[in-house]
């Protein structure tokens, strides 16, 4: 069987980046939440904030570690699988990646050590500053990588000389048209992922009758954070969509599942797009809904896929991915507002509420991945929109080699994901009489003890 290196390399890159994004999505926001816990403790001297800090800093360390190791893989894969990317747009991608390493990676890595292990070694202000610098570093890292990603969608500020992009305007490159929308959308996605993770794991502890003030404080923080961020995210997502409509109309056409350009386009709640027949099956829609959302009046003209026949991205993944993302967003709105209302009016959550929050623990991951699939598959067949086709960037490494490494990557990612989720719940389920004191690791259990006990 002939293995196609292009499709395998795409699957491999998608697997790596999908696995990677799970962890920064948590740490970008969790760093700021830790700073919030630390600040609340500094002002109130209430131990519950420090308890919350010590639990979540462990989650942060674990998540950060996974983000680091999966991120290193990415920086090598540009060369191993996509040499054409750097050969063509290296003059633009290079400095952006370079700035990410120089300004963000070292900052977060160096101060992470102080943040994790320095509490009793450095003055309080330096520990708080380290927490701030780690949070700042993760956010800065997100900024640079989203600048690059946005530039791949809406490239500007360069000229092509002999098939190689040369930068002409760095301000234009950094502040390319889709960057502000994509950055805000992603940072809010990170905030929501983190909010529901905190709420979900805290609800798990609550259900396990672990209802210490620190657990309740984290739970409330998670629910309120979610309730505040979700309306902002819905607004930011809408603006991002309008920006995409302007620059990549074929992507929006695929997201809406709209084949023919025209007015009064319905908002499809469900359908099965059929790219061969160039139509949808089982459509359920709101009349003129898409025209209203995208053009803000009912007879607004919405672009259709048939205008881009042969050059638009695959329709079904975008159409379905978009609906998964929006569906989870609406669920987040309902759950977080219901939870916030209940905590505000009745002072706490109910067992039902706790179970719902537990079920939503990783909802942010699903929404984030669905959203990224929409935007990245939506860029196809381009790697850099209008500049470089994906198929022209792939390396000439054999398909068999890519398939082999892909298999091992998938195996280790699956194992690590299972380990990560089980350790989160293990940490959350483990109760200690005193506040958790992480040392070198859990003390070895006295395995010899039973042997010394007298036989019954």
């Amino acid at each position: 069987m002939e293995l196609d290196p292009l499709i395998l390399s795409r699957i491999q890159f998608a697997a790596n980046i999908s696995f990677h994004i799970l962890f920064p999505t948590i740490t970008i926001a969790l760093g700021w939440v830790l700073l919030y816990f630390k600040a609340r403790y500094s002002f109130s001297k209430d131990q519950k904030w420090m308890d919350a800090y010590f639990f979540w800093v462990k989650v942060f360390a674990l998540t950060f570690g996974l983000g680091v190791v999966s991120g290193i893989t990415m920086s090598f894969q540009f060369g191993t699988n996509w040499p054409g990317f750097m050969e063509t747009v290296g003059n633009i991608a290079g400095p952006l990646l370079g700035y990410e390493v120089l300004t963000a990676f070292f900052l977060e890595a160096a101060f992470l050590g102080v943040m994790l292990f320095g509490f009793s070694r450095v003055p309080g202000w330096l520990h708080t500053l380290s927490t701030f610098l780690v949070a700042f570093g993760t956010t800065l890292s997100a900024f640079w990588i989203l600048v690059l990603n946005s530039w791949m969608h809406t490239p500007q500020g360069f000229e092509m000389i002999d098939g190689v992009a040369h930068a002409t305007n760095w301000v234009g490159i950094v502040f390319n048209p889709s960057m502000p929308y994509r950055l805000v959308h992603m940072l809010l996605a990170s905030g929501l992922t983190c909010a529901f993770l905190i709420a979900g794991l805290s609800a798990y502890r609550w259900l396990k009758n672990d209802r210490k003030p620190g657990v309740i404080a984290a739970l409330r923080t998670g629910v309120f954070l979610g309730a505040i961020l979700i309306p902002m995210q819905i607004l930011a997502g809408d603006l991002h969509g309008l920006n995409t409509l302007e620059h990549q109309p074929q992507k929006v056409a695929a997201m809406e599942g709209n084949w023919d350009t025209g007015p009064n386009i319905p908002l499809l709640l469900f359908a099965l797009p059929d790219e061969e027949a160039r139509t949808n099956h089982f459509e359920i829609g709101i009349p003129s809904g898409a025209s209203l959302i995208l053009k803000h009046h009912a007879d607004g003209v919405v672009p259709g896929l048939n205008d881009y026949a042969g050059e638009h991205p695959p329709v079904a993944p975008l159409f379905l991915g978009f609906r998964i993302m929006v569906g989870i967003g609406l669920l987040m709105l309902a759950v977080s507002w219901w939870g916030a209302w209940r905590i505000w009016r009745k002072g706490g959550i109910s067992p039902l509420m706790a179970r719902v929050l537990l079920g939503m623990t990783f909802s942010g991951w699903v929404a984030t991945l669905a959203g990224w699939y929409v935007t990245e598959i939506g860029r196809q067949p381009w790697l850099v929109h209008g500049v470089l086709m994906t198929k022209d960037a792939v390396s000439d490494v054999s398909g068999g080699m890519v398939a082999t490494t892909l298999f091992f990557y998938l195996a280790i990612y699956a194992a690590l994901l299972i380990a990560y989720i089980s350790v989160l719940f293990y940490l959350a389920g483990r109760r200690r009489a005193d506040a958790p004191r992480a040392t070198l690791g859990p003390r070895p259990e006295p395995v010899e003890a039973p042997a010394r006990m007298p036989a019954e």
């Binding site: 420090m50 010590f54 462990k58 360390a61 674990l62 570690g65 996974l66 680091v68 190791v69 991120g71 290193i72 920086s75 090598f76 540009f78 060369g79 191993t80 040499p83 054409g84 750097m86 050969e87 290296g90 003059n91 290079g94 400095p95 990646l97 370079g98 700035y99 390493v101 120089l102 300004t103 990676f105 070292f106 900052l107 890595a109 160096a110 101060f111 992470l112 050590g113 102080v114 994790l116 292990f117 320095g118 509490f119 009793s120 070694r121 040369h166 930068a167 490494v397 080699m401 490494t405 690590l416 380990a419 350790v423 293990y426 992480a438 040392t439 070198l440 690791g441 859990p442 070895p444």
Partner: protein, 334 residues
């Protein structure tokens, strides 16, 4: 490349070389501790070994990201050639780094019953990463060719670099620990020293034989005299290490900093020798740094950033080592 910017490829080659050297020294001792890890069965000592690198390993590994980043950014074409040629060893390296990196956290946080598994992953990951790096070095020296000879040579450099990492890891333990673990580390260092010596001599002999250009660079008339200090200093370092390691526990702790620093010097000397052999080539025998360099306007932009940021990076890296200076005390979050 226009005359005004002719210095840029050299600057970036130097920066990249410096990050690789810093990486090899700093993550070298982390990986070394991973390699030595199963040599003690004492759980307390294993925890101590990990604790000596806990606050540092992540920042240490970042120098690899910077080195690869600089290769990617400054020499994009070479980045593609080198990494596609080294596809499988790069994969083994990454796989090893993933295993090693996650084990720090998992072994401390997972269910105690699973700790042994993560301990093994820590060892296996460190070993895989070290062997892969050494193998890649060997293939690189051999001009990125996969022949029977180059593969055998690469296996040799893989062992050599791995024992070098074990040596510097043991040096770090001698510096950071006391009593039993320190005594153990001295013993490990003695053994790793011989393997490293054999490996270094082998690479020094094989490189000029493998590539006539390298032979020419070392054994022409003024060069051979000018370069003589490199091998001489290396042997002085080896001899000093041998003496120190034989006497160490008796001399007391005031010399415990010596093995690590001597090993660091040895790494630097070996590295300078290699860098001299290959410059100006970034892809051995095929492409010089001048041919592979990215456009000057892009390099200038990064250079401006690097000039401001690198001193800050060195500053807060030093701060971190200062905060966690001295002998190991119990490492805890609070």
């Amino acid at each position: 490349m226009s005359g005004d910017f002719a210095f840029l490829p050299f600057i970036f080659a130097s920066l990249m070389g410096l990050s690789i050297l810093i990486y090899v020294v700093l993550d070298g001792f982390d990986l070394g501790i991973g390699i030595l890890f199963p040599l003690t069965k004492d759980k307390e000592q294993q925890d101590q070994m990990i604790a000596t690198i806990g606050p540092f390993w992540d920042a240490n590994e970042t120098w690899l990201v910077l080195a690869v980043g600089l290769l990617l950014v400054a020499f994009p074409v070479a980045h593609g050639i080198i990494l596609s040629a080294l596809y499988l060893p790069v994969f083994v390296l990454l796989f090893g780094l993933i295993l090693r990196g996650v084990s720090f956290e998992f072994r401390a946080k997972a269910d105690i019953r699973h700790k042994a598994r993560w301990d093994f992953a820590f060892f296996a990951g460190s070993l895989m990463a070290s062997l892969a790096q050494g193998f890649m070095l060997g293939i690189y020296i051999m001009g990125l060719q996969f022949t029977a000879v180059s593969i055998v040579f690469a296996c040799l450099t893989a062992l050599c670099l791995t024992s070098g990492y074990a040596l510097i890891g043991a040096g770090w333990l001698i510096l950071k620990t006391e009593n039993d673990l320190q005594t153990q580390a001295i013993d490990w260092a003695r053994k790793a020293l011989w393997l490293s010596l054999i490996g270094m001599v082998a690479v020094s002999v094989a490189s000029p034989l493998a590539d006539p250009r390298i032979f020419e660079k070392w054994f022409s008339v003024p060069e051979i005299i000018l370069l003589a200090p490199l091998p001489i200093l290396s042997f002085i370092c080896f001899a000093a290490l041998w003496i120190v390691l034989r006497r160490l526990p008796k001399w007391g702790d005031s010399f415990s900093w010596l093995p690590f620093n001597l090993t660091m010097a040895l790494f630097a000397l070996a590295y300078i020798g290699l860098a001299y052999s290959f410059y100006p080539y970034v892809v051995p025998g095929q492409m010089t740094v001048y041919e592979a360099a990215a456009a000057p306007e892009s390099l200038v932009i990064i250079l401006i950033g690097a000039v401001f940021v690198l001193p800050m990076i060195l500053g807060y890296t030093a701060l971190s080592y200062y905060i966690f200076r001295g002998k190991l005390t119990e490492l805890r979050y609070d």
